[in-house]
């Protein structure tokens, strides 16, 4: 039988440009984010090349500063946040049994804001004096006119404004969809945990992005209009910007990890052949993390010299977040307990997530204790910590999601052989790259230095780290090969290849434009398993 072939697969460009179908917009988001992921990854490889040896001259100092600024901005604003918007776009309506998102046109607008925000950021390399080079956080006075010449910084602000606008509209859309468009029977305690994570992802974006926009607008005014909000010599306050930025910046970390945790919470039960252990505990821990994430921002500012009571408050609030995070990890482990663990590639990424995210979580406790933070902040220790959370966490979660939902999105199964090689190379390369960076930080290597003159252990660890980044790059190339091969001759996917639990597997792979002809009864959080059982009972 000829598999279902929706008309948008006929290759019409205009169809993609004018689409308001949540699934096509989801694919656009995911595809664009992956291209930016490759771009940001190349920037990272250039940096690791420069740092592979002491006193290397491969990259100039100005270029190096542009590289880490645009690398960070790319990975955060152009990769992790939008790719989750892509997953949410594709999956949320399917998971809750809806026809589309609440505002399909607004949804298309969000995507185009995102794309053009990214284009502006990359074109800023062509500005006089080059792209922005004051870090992804752009602290003034360094980001002020006097110390950041040229328009790279202004274009960076413009790009972030566009991206924030896109994310805000997307967040409104997801919230309206989740609150209003759930199928009959799909109560709050029955929505998939991934949908819970998107609920909190969206709420956080809505609450904190306006604060970033305010900070960036004031910075732009300082640069272009001659105001002095952040310029101390004229009565402004440089620390004020840090509050604006981190009030957004820390919840942003959870915006980038909660959907990955949502993906893990979908994948682990399906490949353990068990229900998720402690659905409510995981759902509520998501809410708790979202709430506390807005009370911890100044732990990025422990070395600023804030009053002691603030340091104490932000230390304790940061430590509190470890509790709901721990709850999730223990519940995932309990889900695998006594299961029938099937090590398909999606599951490998999910288990890999637990293995490495735990390290990132534990190193965070050192950073939360502010006297210890005084030693390790702004060193490679933080670079290691943050990549264990954002690469080992978010990106591992993204790959788990890609291998898990690829059959649903494109109707073909990603190759398992290449998938496993992809996982193991990235897992190995990731740990080789980032574990030694903890040690470099403790040895005293600051972040954001374009070179170092120390030999010995500094050199050894840096070299291991650079080799690891190459291993990772090879692994990621295998993913590209896998995608190309799959699109040509990958096995056709049935509706529900994994025997999963949630509603998106009820429809065809890929789903028709209207998603569902009809919906099964929803009486639990696992409607598809219920359906399989009902069918088994009926047939025998």
């Amino acid at each position: 039988m000829q598999p279902y072939r929706p008309d948008w697969r006929q290759g019409r460009v205009m169809g993609w440009i004018t689409t308001t179908d949540h699934k096509r917009i989801g694919i656009l988001y995911i595809g664009t984010s992956l291209i930016f992921f490759a771009a940001g990854g190349i920037l990272a490889l250039l940096m690791r090349g420069q740092l592979a040896q002491a006193n290397e001259h491969f990259i100039t100092k100005q270029s190096y500063n542009e590289l880490f600024t645009i690398h960070g901005t790319t990975m955060i604003f152009l990769v992790v946040v939008p790719i989750f918007a892509g997953f949410a776009n594709f999956l949320v309506p399917l998971m809750i049994g809806a026809r589309d998102v609440a505002f399909p046109r607004l949804n298309a607008l969000s995507y185009w804001f995102f794309l053009f925000g990214g284009v502006v950021l990359y074109l800023s390399f062509l500005a006089k004096y080059g792209a922005a080079r004051s870090g992804w956080y752009a602290y003034p006075p360094l980001s002020a006119n006097m110390f950041s010449l040229g328009h790279g910084q202004d274009l960076w602000i413009l790009s972030l404004h566009l991206l924030s606008l896109g994310s805000l509209l997307g967040a409104i859309n997801f919230l309206a969809t989740i609150h209003n468009m759930r199928a009959p029977g799909m109560s709050w305690m029955r929505i998939p945990l991934f949908v819970w994570s998107i609920e909190i992802y969206s709420a956080l974006l809505l609450l904190v992005l306006p604060v970033l926009s305010v900070g960036l607008t004031l910075l732009l005014l300082d640069r272009q209009v001659g105001t002095h909000f952040f310029e101390p010599q004229d009565g402004g306050n440089a620390i004020l910007y840090q509050h604006f930025f981190w009030f957004f910046g820390h919840p942003e970390v959870y915006i980038m990890i909660l959907p990955a945790m949502g993906i893990i919470s979908e994948v682990i039960p399906v490949f353990s052949r068990k229900p998720i252990f402690g659905y409510k505990a995981i759902a509520f821990s998501t809410v708790a993390i979202g709430f506390y994430s807005m009370l911890v921002w100044a732990h990025h500012m422990f070395s600023v010299g804030l009053p002691n009571f603030l340091n104490v408050f932000f230390m304790l609030s940061s430590m509190v977040i470890a509790v709901p995070t721990g709850v999730k990890i223990f519940n995932w482990l309990a889900t695998t307990w006594r299961g029938n663990l099937i090590f398909d590639t999606a599951m490998l990424w999910a288990l890999g997530f637990i293995a490495v995210f735990t390290i990132g979580g534990l190193s965070g406790i050192f950073l939360a204790a502010f006297p210890v933070d005084w030693q390790v902040t702004d060193t490679y220790y933080v670079v290691a910590h943050m990549h264990y959370v954002l690469f080992g966490g978010s990106v591992f979660g993204i790959f788990a999601g890609l291998y898990y939902w690829w059959p649903k999105i494109f109707g073909r199964m990603l190759g398992e052989r290449l998938g496993k090689a992809h996982f193991w190379l990235v897992f190995l390369g990731f740990n080789l790259t980032f574990f030694p960076q903890h040690l470099l930080g403790l040895l005293g290597m600051p972040r954001r230095v374009y070179t170092y003159s120390e030999h010995g252990l500094w050199q050894t660890y840096n070299l291991i780290s650079s080799i690891g980044s190459g291993v990772m790059a090879i692994g990621l190339l295998l993913f590209v090969v896998n995608v190309v091969q799959t699109s040509r001759k990958g096995a056709r996917a049935v509706n529900d290849p994994w025997l999963a639990d949630t509603l998106e597997w009820f429809t065809t792979s890929p789903p028709p434009p209207h998603n569902f002809d009809r919906l099964p009864y929803i009486t639990s959080a696992r409607p598809l398993r219920d359906l399989r059982r009902r069918l088994a009972e009926a047939s025998g």
Binding site: G278, G305, N331, T336, I342, L362, W374, P446, V449, Y450
Partner: protein
């Protein structure tokens, strides 16, 4: 079969980790902050070790359970339809793994708070007649130290051994961060804002410091040295400090960009530029900056400008080039 491959890779990764550990121990570095030589830094290391004990235990528990479950409950040829027991949760377990982390965090926080005063509060040091106070002024891309009697040094902080030194830190341009790992943690240098830290070095010698906050193109070159000396050496140095000021200023604030001989590097060749000898033009340039040149002399005293000018005339300026 995939399981056997998995174990193989696991063994490989473990042996790599072991090799790494061995290398690290041989070099005695990288598993804790730098060996402390000041009471505040020592107490930070104590806190670090205390946290490492608990997090180490949690690490072993979580990763151990993960590996154990992965091995024990692997598929072993079972059909995909074979389900595990349909357990939806256990309230008691949830309570345990919520409460126990709370207790662990309480233990960590209590210990840190117990150590905190000894890290943060500057000792009154009554027996020494109060702490020695040094002003730290951070600039793009050098450190300027001002001593109680007005002496100034660049990039090299001199201090007597076993004496409490309070450093008052601020910046003249962008954000920097004062950090000498063996003598304590980082404190940001932020324009319009003053932060404090202290140290009491227990051993004479030199301690290396680095700028801890990204501050621009020469961030990597913004290093400091703390030269801890005996009280007599320190007093002797103070007497000669002013005579070496001009050279310190040249090396710290000019030579990083223009080269030690002024022949250019990141900045242009200035060795033959007559501006070096013209007080008015030079002063305006270095106090206010121009294009990519930062205002390196922002906040300098008259005496500092004169010292630099004298050194430029005597040690750097090579006369106008033949062409003009």
């Amino acid at each position: 079969m995939p399981v056997r491959r998995k174990i193989f890779v696991l063994v490989l990764a473990l042996s790599a980790a072991l090799a790494l550990t061995a290398v690290a121990y041989a070099g005695n570095g990288g598993f804790a902050p730098a060996t402390p030589h000041s009471p505040n830094a020592r107490r930070i290391n104590d806190s670090y070790v205390w946290i490492a004990i608990f997090t180490g235990a949690i690490f072993v528990l979580v990763e151990g359970a993960l590996i154990w479950f992965v091995v024990k409950y692997r598929r072993r040829g079972r059909a995909r339809t074979a389900e595990g027991p349909q357990i939806h949760g256990a309230t008691r377990l949830e309570l345990i793994w919520t409460a126990v982390p709370v207790l662990i965090l309480a233990a960590i926080a209590s210990f840190v708070f117990y150590k905190l005063p000894g890290i943060q509060d500057v000792p009154s040091a009554k027996a020494e007649g109060g702490p020695l106070v040094v002003q730290v002024n951070a600039h793009q891309f050098y450190w300027q130290f001002t001593y109680p009697d007005g002496q100034i040094s660049i990039d090299e902080l001199h201090a007597p051994v076993n004496r409490t030194v309070r450093v008052d830190i601020t910046s003249q341009d962008v954000d920097h961060s004062w950090w000498v790992p063996e003598l304590g943690g980082k404190f940001d240098a932020i324009p319009g804002h003053m932060t404090h830290t202290w140290f009491k070095a227990d051993r004479a010698g030199t301690y290396r410091g680095r700028c801890g906050e990204f501050c621009g193109v020469f961030h990597a070159a913004m290093k400091a040295v703390v030269d801890v000396q005996s009280q007599t050496d320190y007093t002797a140095w103070l007497a000669t400090a002013n005579s070496t000021l001009g050279r310190g200023e040249w090396e710290g604030s000019c030579a990083k960009c223009h080269g030690l001989q002024g022949h250019g590097g990141f900045g242009p060749n200035i060795a033959t530029n007559a501006l070096l000898t013209q007080r008015q033009g030079l002063e305006q340039l270095i106090r206010q900056g121009r294009n990519e040149m930062p205002p390196v002399a922002h906040g300098w005293s008259d005496q500092q400008v004169r010292a630099l000018l004298a050194y430029l005339k005597q040690g750097v300026y090579k006369g106008t080039s033949s062409g003009g």
